[in-house]
């Protein structure tokens, strides 16, 4: 029982990061029908920008405690939001009427550029956040089930960001406009919605959440390198597909399911088999519901 509870907790903790990154893929797909492969690398850049900020604070002679996340996290999110908009302007908008493949290739190119930039600027070795920023110790939740303090904080922050996004999309005018654009660009434009600005808004929010996820992942796991976007981004992308790409609660659900299945597979069968088990299950889900768990039922595929 305790073993099951511990595995479920581990799964939720992994899954909430997958979910946070998956949101970026799914939001862009929702409004543009484009798989933004550069998203995983924007996420990786979140970890690196946080690293730059934290080392700069250390270099200035201040010992960064966990409190530095209060100013640094929003700062990183803002920088990445701007980077996301820039990316949309330069790599995607000029190709928007060019069909589906050219923007996809452009996205792949952007991903490679971002990755190569990180490797060349920061070097290829593992980076770590100063140990003073992580919260020490663990918390006994019940019986023998424990969770690290940093783990709890990171998971709570991820859940908080996701709830905020949900409220934003469903309770504000801009959110409503985003949902309208995701249904139909032309009709939305006829209703007086500035489609280009709404799309830019999506590119503000997705990378900002991705950047936050990057910092939280780096805080939680302690080390990362320029390949982080690839390893984590791929899983998140799969989570978005399973949840139903284009669907925001679907991305969260897909992320959590992927994390929990991985964790249970590793716990009850073997860590060597966990990816295989997870992907077989995901394939079965997709066979049963090709549009994903919460995806549109009659998705037209071109």
């Amino acid at each position: 029982m305790e073993f099951l509870a511990q595995n479920l907790l581990n799964g939720v903790s992994i899954g909430s990061f997958y979910a946070l990154v998956a949101l970026g893929y799914t939001m862009v797909y929702g409004v543009l029908r484009l798989i933004n492969f550069a998203h995983g690398d924007l996420f990786m850049w979140g970890a690196f920008l946080g690293y730059t900020a934290l080392t700069a604070i250390s270099a200035a002679g201040l010992s960064p405690g966990p409190w530095v996340f209060v100013p640094v996290l929003p700062g990183v999110m803002i920088v990445l939001a701007l980077a996301g908009v820039l990316l949309e302007r330069t790599a995607y908008r000029p190709l928007r009427s060019a069909g589906r493949l050219p923007p996809l290739i452009s996205a792949l190119g952007a991903a490679f550029i971002l990755q190569a930039l990180a490797r060349n600027l920061y070097g290829a070795s593992y980076k770590t956040y100063p140990s003073s920023v992580s919260l020490p110790g663990g918390v006994r939740i019940l019986g023998d089930v424990t969770m690290g303090t940093t783990q709890i904080v990171a998971v709570l922050a991820a859940l908080l960001l996701m709830s905020a996004l949900h409220v934003f999309v469903h309770r504000t005018r801009v959110g409503t406009a985003m949902r309208a654009v995701s249904l139909d660009h032309d009709t939305a434009r006829l209703m007086g919605i500035p489609v280009d600005r709404v799309i830019a808004g999506v590119f503000l929010i997705g990378p900002a959440l991705g950047g936050a996820a990057g910092m939280l992942v780096a805080l939680r796991y302690g080390s990362f390198d320029f390949t982080l976007g690839w390893t984590f981004g791929l899983k998140a992308f799969i989570a978005a597909i399973v949840g139903g790409i284009g669907n925001i609660p679907g991305a969260m659900l897909g992320g959590l399911i992927l994390g929990v299945v991985e964790s249970l597979g590793a716990g009850y069968i073997s860590p060597q088999w966990k990816d295989l088990i997870a992907y077989v299950l995901l394939a079965l889900i997709l066979i049963a519901r090709p549009g994903g768990l919460l995806g549109e039922r009659c998705a037209e595929r071109v």
């Binding site: 070795s125 663990g138 969770m147 990362f224 991985e262 597979g265």
Partner: protein
């Protein structure tokens, strides 16, 4: 109904670009132009054949003796093991520069070719092909056993002498390659040392073994298991992690459930750091013993001092603990040149590999890999090395002797020899 456009992506059999009727290559029945193979695969084969031409041609024919001594260095300059690969390069380049400043080897300038294999199997064989086409006679490398194994096959065919500073998988020297040598000591000897340490010094009876499915880690894990069982220990867990992951809490939760006294982790330091860091999160309290790939201060940085302290690893001594005169001289030169200490024993092994090559070339007055290999197998005896006396090599190319020791991470995050050795 299938759309007709799709068939245009792949040329129909018999109508592809290379085997079109009337095309000069079209009549040949050879592998390269067999109609059944898809066009891209055939182009790849053709490219591969072109790339291997310089290997197939005897290197001496008609060409004058190269004016320089060409030595290759293959290692992971980027990727997971970049820390080690870049250290290889610094250590070897320091010695090459010193040798060149004092007149080179056999009066010839030494030229060092550095290639990055990223620790990856596919890259490693490509690197080996490039080395062969550059006409190097000796290669130092690679770092991890998986890459070394892939490259060794190519080097053997090309007649290039290879010395790995750090690949410890036992089977590397069991292939009958006459020109393959290593500076480090094999996994079976390290596994034996680890088992002795766990059973005699720590007096653990319930041992869990965790590896990462790499050639090296799995080999060391199997040897450790064998010798631990011989010493009456119970193996309560034997499994692998996926080194591409960041979150190992599922494995750690499983480890907690088996109630082991000691976990023997045989993988690499990046994952070891993550394991140590995440162990308290699931409430796992256990003694960690790790293999020599965890011999790296970066481990403490990744895990954080609080989580890393008390962890033990078995390894060849750290460079700063080497008290041979050659070691003192080398570490001092290294620090003077790069402004930082040589922190990994593998860098020093790479430096020793170069010194062995130099000694062999000077003793035989030759740069021919066959002559050098014969000398290393039989002639080389008691060369004073940075990593201790190099007693010689056995017929398989393994270095004789062993120099393992156990180290522990202190509460300050420093690494010191464990007070009790088996």
């Amino acid at each position: 109904m299938p759309t007709p456009r799709r068939t245009r992506l792949r040329p129909a059999p018999g109508h592809s670009f290379c085997s079109r009727p009337g095309h000069p290559f079209g009549h040949g029945p050879g592998l390269l132009f067999r109609p059944g193979l898809a066009y891209p695969i055939r182009c790849l084969l053709l490219l591969g054949a072109l790339a291997s031409l310089p290997v197939l041609l005897p290197s001496g024919c008609g060409r004058s003796k190269p004016a320089t001594v060409r030595i290759g260095l293959e290692g992971p300059m980027t990727g997971d093991y970049a820390y080690e690969g870049q250290g290889f390069e610094r250590a070897v380049r320091l010695l090459v520069d010193q040798v060149n400043a004092s007149g080179g080897i056999l009066g010839r300038h030494v030229e060092l070719f550095v290639e990055d294999d990223r620790g990856d199997v596919k890259e490693a064989s490509l690197v080996a092909d490039r080395m062969a086409s550059r006409g190097v006679s000796v290669v130092i490398g690679s770092y991890n056993s998986t890459a070394t194994e892939a490259a060794a096959a190519v080097y053997d065919r090309a007649g290039i002498l290879q010395i790995t500073p750090s690949s410890t998988a036992t089977r590397l020297t069991a292939k009958g390659y006459q020109r393959f040598f290593r500076m480090c000591f094999t996994d079976d000897r390290q596994g034996l040392f680890g088992a002795e340490f766990i059973s005699k010094v720590l007096e653990s009876r319930r041992v869990a073994i965790l590896h990462d499915n790499s050639t090296y880690a799995q080999g060391l894990a199997e040897w450790g298991k064998k010798f631990l069982l011989e010493r009456g220990c119970e193996i309560v867990f034997f499994d692998a992690i996926n080194p591409a992951d960041k979150d190992f809490t599922p494995s750690l939760t499983k480890l907690k459930a088996v109630n082991a006294e000691t976990v023997y982790f045989t993988g690499y330091h990046a994952q070891a750091g993550l394991l140590l860091r995440q162990a308290p999160e699931v409430g796992l309290k256990v003694q960690w013993v790790m293999g020599d790939a965890c011999n790296n201060p970066e481990l403490v940085r990744i895990a954080g001092v609080d989580c890393a302290q008390g962890a033990i690893f078995t390894t060849e001594p750290l460079p700063i603990d080497l008290d041979y005169p050659e070691a003192k001289a080398f570490t001092a030169d290294y620090k003077a040149h790069y402004g930082a200490d040589a922190t990994s024993v593998w860098w020093v092994m790479a430096a020793d590999a170069f010194r062995v090559i130099r000694a062999a070339m000077e003793a035989t007055k030759s740069t021919d890999s066959g002559v050098l290999a014969a000398y290393l197998h039989t002639g080389l005896k008691d060369l004073p090395g940075i990593t201790g006396p190099i007693l010689g090599y056995d017929e398989k190319g393994d270095r004789l002797g062993t120099i393992h020791r156990a180290y522990v991470i202190t509460p300050k995050g420093t690494i010191v020899p464990y007070p009790k050795q088996p």
